[in-house]
Subunit: 223 residues, 2 copies
DNA sequence: GTCAAGCGGATTGTCAGACAATCTTGAAAT
DNA sequence: ATTTCAAGATTGTCTGACAATCCGCTTGAC
C-alpha cells in the first residue's frame, strides 16, 4: 500500500496560482488604488492566456479585491474611509465573538500555538520589519478565528481583513503602534488562556477599536 | 439636454446575465445538492460560449453557491447541518446588530417602506404560496439591512442568506412557521418603529433562533 | 482661444475551435 | 467478487479572431 494514501495534493491549476499571485501582488501594494489592470499586460507578465486570467479576475472581483466595470475592465478599487469604517465595524463584531468563543473552547495544544505566534509578533514588533509585523499579527488572529468553532465566521473575517490589508502595513509602521498592538494582543491572549470569555471579548474589542483609530491616523497623515 | 442624463444603464454583459440566471436557478432548487454541472450542457442551454460560462462559474464559486474541484468541475455543494448552523450563528450576529442600528437611524420614509413589506408578508403568510412568503420575508430583512448604515454588513449578510436559501423554502412551508414568523417580524417592526434599540435586538435574535430551529426541523423531517 | 465633433488606437467582451490531462464508467480477466 | 484496463466523457488551457466600446487627440467651427 502506498505511503501517501489519501494525501493526494489536489493539482494546482493555473487559475488558482494566478489568483494567489495577484492577491499577493495586491496585498503588497504593487498596484496603486484606482489604477487599471490591463489584461494583455498581465497575461504576458504571468505567462498565461487571457481566458485563464479572466477567470482569475472574476474570482478576485467576487472577493472585492478588484473591481470590474463593463467595457473598462479591472481596476484596484480606491478604499474610501467610509467603507473602511464599515469593514472595521463588522470586523469588530466578528472578532469579538471569535475571541469570546475561543476562550471557552480552545485546546491546550492550540493555545500553545497561539502563544508561539504571540512571541513571533513580539520579536517582529521590536524590529522595524513592518512586513513581518503584519504577517505575524495576522497569524495570531488566524489562530483565534480558526479555533472559535465556526468556520463561516473565520471565512467571512478573512475576506474582510483582506480588503483592509492596504491599511495594515501603513498603520503598523506608525509610531509606537506595534508596541501598543503587542500589549493589546497580550491581553487577548491572557484572557483566552484564562478561559475568561468576557475579558477576551473586551480585550478584543479594544484591540479592533485601536486598530481602526490607527488606520484613521495613518490615512489622515497620508496625502 | 437629454432627459436621461447620467442615468446610463451600465450595459449588462453576458457574464452578468449568466451569473444571475444561474443564481436564480440554484435558489429555485433546480439543481440537486451534490449534482454536477456539465459545462457543455450549460453552454448550449444558455446559448453562450464556454469561456463566458466559466467566468460566471468562477463568480458563483467565490460566492460559495457552487464548488469547483480541479478536474471534476462545478457542482452544487451539499450543505451540511454543521455549516448551516455556522451560517445561522453569523447571520444572528449580523442581523441583530443591523436591527439595533436600524432602530436608531431609520428615516420615516423607509419605515413606511418596512411597514409595507410587512403587510406584503402578512398577505403571503395567509396564502399557501411559499415562494411569495420567502421573497416578501427576504424583502423585509433587506430593508432592515439596507438601513443599518453599514453597507458591508448588508453585503455580508446577503451572501450568507444566499447560501441557506435552500432551507428557506422548506422551513417556510412547515406547519405554522409562516404565521409565527409573522409574529416575530411584527415584533421587530414595532421595536424599530419605536426606536427601541434593545427591543429590536432582542426580537431580531429571537427571530433568527426560531428560523434556525425551523430549518433544523425541516431538515430532520426530510430524508 | 475655446469648445464641440469626430477620428483612430487601445482595450475589453465574446466567440469558435482545438488538444492534452484527468476522471469516470463499464467490461474483461483473475 | 475484486482488480485491471481501455474507451468515452469532461475539464484545463491555449490560440486566434472580431465587434463593441472607451479614451485621447486632432481638427474644425465659432
Amino acid at each position: 500500500m502506498p505511503v501517501d494514501m489519501n494525501l493526494r495534493i489536489s493539482p494546482r491549476t493555473v487559475q488558482q496560482e494566478t489568483v494567489d499571485k495577484l492577491r499577493l501582488a495586491i496585498f503588497s501594494g504593487l498596484f496603486q488604488p484606482g489604477s487599471r489592470l490591463i489584461e494583455s499586460q498581465l497575461c504576458t507578465q504571468l505567462g498565461i492566456s487571457r481566458p485563464s486570467l479572466r477567470e482569475a479576475l472574476r474570482s478576485l472581483e467576487a472577493e472585492r479585491l478588484i473591481e470590474i466595470v463593463p467595457n473598462r475592465g479591472p481596476s484596484i478599487p480606491a478604499l474610501s474611509w467610509e467603507v473602511a469604517t464599515a469593514i472595521y465595524e463588522v470586523r469588530e463584531l466578528l472578532e469579538v465573538e471569535a475571541a469570546g468563543r475561543c476562550a471557552l473552547r480552545i485546546s491546550a495544544e492550540r493555545l500553545r500555538e497561539l502563544e508561539r505566534s504571540l512571541s513571533a509578533f513580539e520579536l517582529a514588533a521590536s524590529s522595524n520589519d513592518s512586513l513581518a509585523q503584519v504577517t505575524t499579527a495576522a497569524d495570531f488572529y488566524s489562530i483565534i478565528l480558526a479555533n472559535c468553532g465556526n468556520p463561516v465566521l473565520e471565512e467571512v473575517h478573512r475576506g474582510l481583513v483582506a480588503r483592509i490589508s492596504f491599511f495594515r502595513g501603513r498603520s503598523m509602521s506608525l509610531d509606537g503602534r506595534a508596541q501598543s498592538s503587542l500589549t493589546e494582543m497580550r491581553e487577548i491572549y491572557e484572557a483566552i488562556a484564562a478561559g475568561d470569555e468576557k475579558a477576551a471579548r473586551k480585550a478584543s474589542r479594544q484591540h479592533v477599536l485601536k486598530a481602526k483609530a490607527a488606520a484613521k491616523r495613518s490615512m489622515d497623515s497620508a496625502t
